[in-house]
């Protein structure tokens, strides 16, 4: 039986007896231990959370005026929100820029994880829940892209839903089932609207909680992949031996650095929102959807280009197979990497080469994914980059199997 004495309502003691706020505070912040040996890349998680927050808040404002009707959606976004609603333009630009930048941070976050080996030895679920977040952010971004009902919304919707016909299997029934029509139309817009404002955000929020949860037991990795005895280190900290302890509390020590990095990030973010938003809002999508006029170039937003370029250089069915491969292969990373060592890539050979090759290859795929494939040089580079991607992943188990750490195990 809990003990309730006459504490003043809503005082700390009163709340603690009812909600255990002191325990919560200890567990979630002041005694949530983070390694000291980290750099600013460790702040990307908080930056992602902050950007998601911005997307959520701006999205709520946009949702008040958006109309999911094929004949009204374009003007609801481009006229009502942009010229009639006070600061509607600001919310929209925050939402558009945020949707693009969030992927940049996701990729930095992912490659940080790959570089420091933060996906193995107890951290597999962190990686997997993170990849699920990547997939749901992709679905969220794609469904959101449909909503302005511009030319690129319409034609991207056409192309992506067509993928579900599975090439030569010609499962057109599935495509029609997804669209609710033979072509993207009212049913299609309504469905993607629901996905964008309800189902995907719910899923994302649940996955964020799971992602945080998966961090709890294995703890955050550090710059050297060192295995830290967190209990011992925490005891040192609590004893006031801050210099010797290998950990810091999340709040306020880690948070102070996070907030600083976030500040730098927000300067860049709002510079983009006010002065350089075009990169996130494709001009083609400012032409209203027109089923009779296919744009000269149809391309996805930049963050999907690398996987698009794995689909494009091949014949229909082969392309689809490798496209599917590209969608799931990152999920398998913790199991394809056979090395027992958790260490930064620069100490793992030949994994070091694998890491930089993968990064350069994905940048190449991204760039080639937007360039017109009618140019034989671009098409050739794209094809080589696609093969490189595939080969890299098949090679991964073999090159990590007999890995030696440079400088021995620390």
């Amino acid at each position: 039986m809990a003990h309730f004495d006459n504490a003043f309502p809503f005082s700390e003691k009163w709340l603690d007896q009812r909600l255990a706020i002191n325990t919560l505070k200890r567990v979630l912040s002041t005694e949530y231990w983070i390694p000291k040996n980290i750099n600013f890349l460790w702040a990307m998680g908080m930056i992602l959370a902050a950007t998601f927050g911005l997307l959520l808040i701006s999205g709520i404002f946009l949702l008040m005026y958006y109309i999911p009707d094929t004949s009204k959606a374009f003007d609801a976004v481009n006229y009502t929100i942009m010229s009639e609603v006070g600061y509607g333009w600001l919310w929209r630009h925050i939402h558009g820029v945020g949707a693009s930048v969030v992927f940049l941070i996701i990729y930095i976050h992912m490659f940080t994880g790959i570089y420091y080996g933060s996906y193995k030895k107890g951290r597999e679920l962190i990686w997997l829940s993170g990849m699920l977040l990547f997939v749901s952010f992709s679905a969220e971004a794609f469904s959101g892209y449909m909503l302005p009902w511009g030319q690129m919304s319409y034609w991207a919707g056409m192309v992506i839903t067509n993928l579900f016909s599975m090439g030569s299997l010609e499962l057109n029934g599935i495509v029609e089932w997804i669209r609710g029509d033979y072509v993207p139309g009212q049913a299609f817009l309504g469905r993607f609207f629901m996905l964008h404002v309800l189902l995907m955000p719910l899923l994302i929020m649940a996955l964020i909680v799971l992602h945080f949860g998966t961090l709890r037991i294995p703890h955050v990795n550090n710059q050297d992949g060192e295995e830290i005895d967190f209990e011992e280190a925490a005891a040192l900290w609590k004893a006031g031996r801050r210099k010797e302890s290998k950990v810091i509390p999340f709040n306020p020590v880690f948070l102070s650095k996070d907030v600083f990095v976030m500040g730098v990030y927000f300067i860049l973010f709002f510079y983009l929102v006010f002065y350089h938003f075009e990169f996130a809002m494709d001009p083609v999508n400012f032409d209203p959807a027109d089923p009779l006029k296919t744009p000269a170039h149809i391309y996805p937003e930049w963050y999907f280009l690398w996987s698009y370029e794995i689909l494009r250089p091949f014949s229909k069915d082969v392309g689809l197979i490798w496209f599917g491969f590209a969608q799931v292969i990152f999920m398998l990373l913790p199991f394809l990497d056979r090395s027992p060592y958790v260490a930064p890539a620069n100490r793992r050979r030949p994994f070091r080469c694998w890491f930089w090759l993968l990064l350069i290859d994905m940048v190449t795929l991204t760039i080639m994914g937007k360039l017109p494939p009618t140019d034989p040089t671009y098409a050739m580079i794209g094809k080589i980059a696609a093969y490189t991607f595939i080969i890299l992943w098949f090679a991964l188990p073999f090159i990590t199997m007999k890995e030696k750490l440079v400088g021995g195990k620390k």
Binding site: L90, L104, K243, S256, I267, I367, D375
Partner: protein
């Protein structure tokens, strides 16, 4: 130091990707090539129309031009001189395919060499000869007079035109674009402003508006027949096309869209700037607000970051 090196790597890969998918990709996608695959680069002429110069040594006489303008008002209005249009927009479109423009501001908005050649050979000046061949005539007949008469008319239109700064962006748009292109965010239709009408409370219907909409639809029918398709609404074209595209396209539509039915409208530099100002008003009205608020928001985050840095310093001072 190590953190700065890491930051440099992150920034490097980000910028390479940005360069590849934005400036470079857009250049590659919009590259125009001839039959041999060589790149065609259109040289922008600053709205001067070198091939449409007035002949040397000819000097127009506005008085003579005024007398000659009687031939123009058979189809065009000159409202500033109390010359109404002989037919309304719909009837004009029935007769010519498109409603001819009012000429009050022509002398200020359009290049004089363009106006001169327009009167001599409309299809040539408008660069639509590809549409009027095999005996098909442009609806505006070439004038009968000599070079001197054409120069006199140009002088007349320049003499009656208001100063460029007195013409509003909207007027420039109406004259140069607005008879083919609607602008629904500016409440403009090809036959004029959307009238302010009221619903009948008893029925919930607005018959005046319905009649107007029907007239617009009829006009658009005729226009679409004349142009091959209905020219697009320009409400937000300013965000759908690059500045570069707009400059080249308005100076010479064939430069960006070979074969298009859109005529070269012959705007001079001031006229072009006014049209763009109007398109920005309707398509990008937040521009002045962005410029006003931007520095404050960024300033706020600079101060925020400085304070956060001091906090971080104080928290981390005895950790190493």
């Amino acid at each position: 130091m190590k953190e700065l090196k890491i930051l440099a790597v992150v920034v490097f890969f980000t910028l390479v990707t940005y360069y590849g998918v934005e400036p470079y990709a857009h250049h590659a996608m919009h590259k125009k090539v001839d039959a041999n695959g060589n790149e065609i680069v259109y040289e922008h002429k600053g709205f001067t129309y070198p091939e449409l110069k007035m002949p040397e040594g000819i000097k127009g006489n506005a008085e003579n031009g005024k007398a000659l303008s009687a031939a123009c008002v058979g189809c065009h209005s000159i409202k500033s001189q109390n010359m109404p249009a002989p037919m309304d927009a719909l009837a004009s479109a029935g007769a010519y395919g498109v409603n001819p423009p009012d000429l009050s501001d022509a002398g200020a908005l359009y290049d004089e060499g363009f106006l001169f050649h327009l009167m001599k050979n409309p299809a040539h000046a408008l660069k639509v000869e590809h549409k009027f061949k095999n005996g098909k005539m442009h609806p505006m007949p070439p004038m009968a007079g000599d070079d001197q008469s054409a120069a006199d008319l140009v002088a007349y239109f320049k003499s009656i035109a208001p100063k460029a700064e007195e013409i509003t962006p909207k007027q420039a748009f109406e004259s140069a674009c607005g008879r083919c292109h609607a602008n629904r965010y500016g409440k403009w239709t090809q036959i004029g402003d959307v009238p302010k009408t009221k619903k009948n409370i008893a029925t919930g219907k607005d018959p005046e508006r319905l009649k107007f909409d029907l007239k617009v639809a009829d006009y658009q029918d005729k226009l679409a027949k004349y142009m091959g398709k209905l020219p697009p609404d320009l409400s937000i074209i300013i965000r759908a096309r690059s500045e570069h595209f707009m400059e080249n396209f308005i100076e010479d539509p064939q430069s960006e869209l070979p074969g298009t039915a859109m005529p070269r409208v012959g705007l001079n530099k001031e006229g072009f700037e006014k049209v763009i100002a109007y398109l920005e008003e309707t398509g990008d009205p937040s521009k002045p607000k962005r410029q006003a608020i931007g520095p404050w928001v960024i300033g706020f985050f600079i101060i925020f970051t400085l304070l956060a840095y001091l906090w971080k310093k104080s928290q981390w001072k005895d950790l190493h």
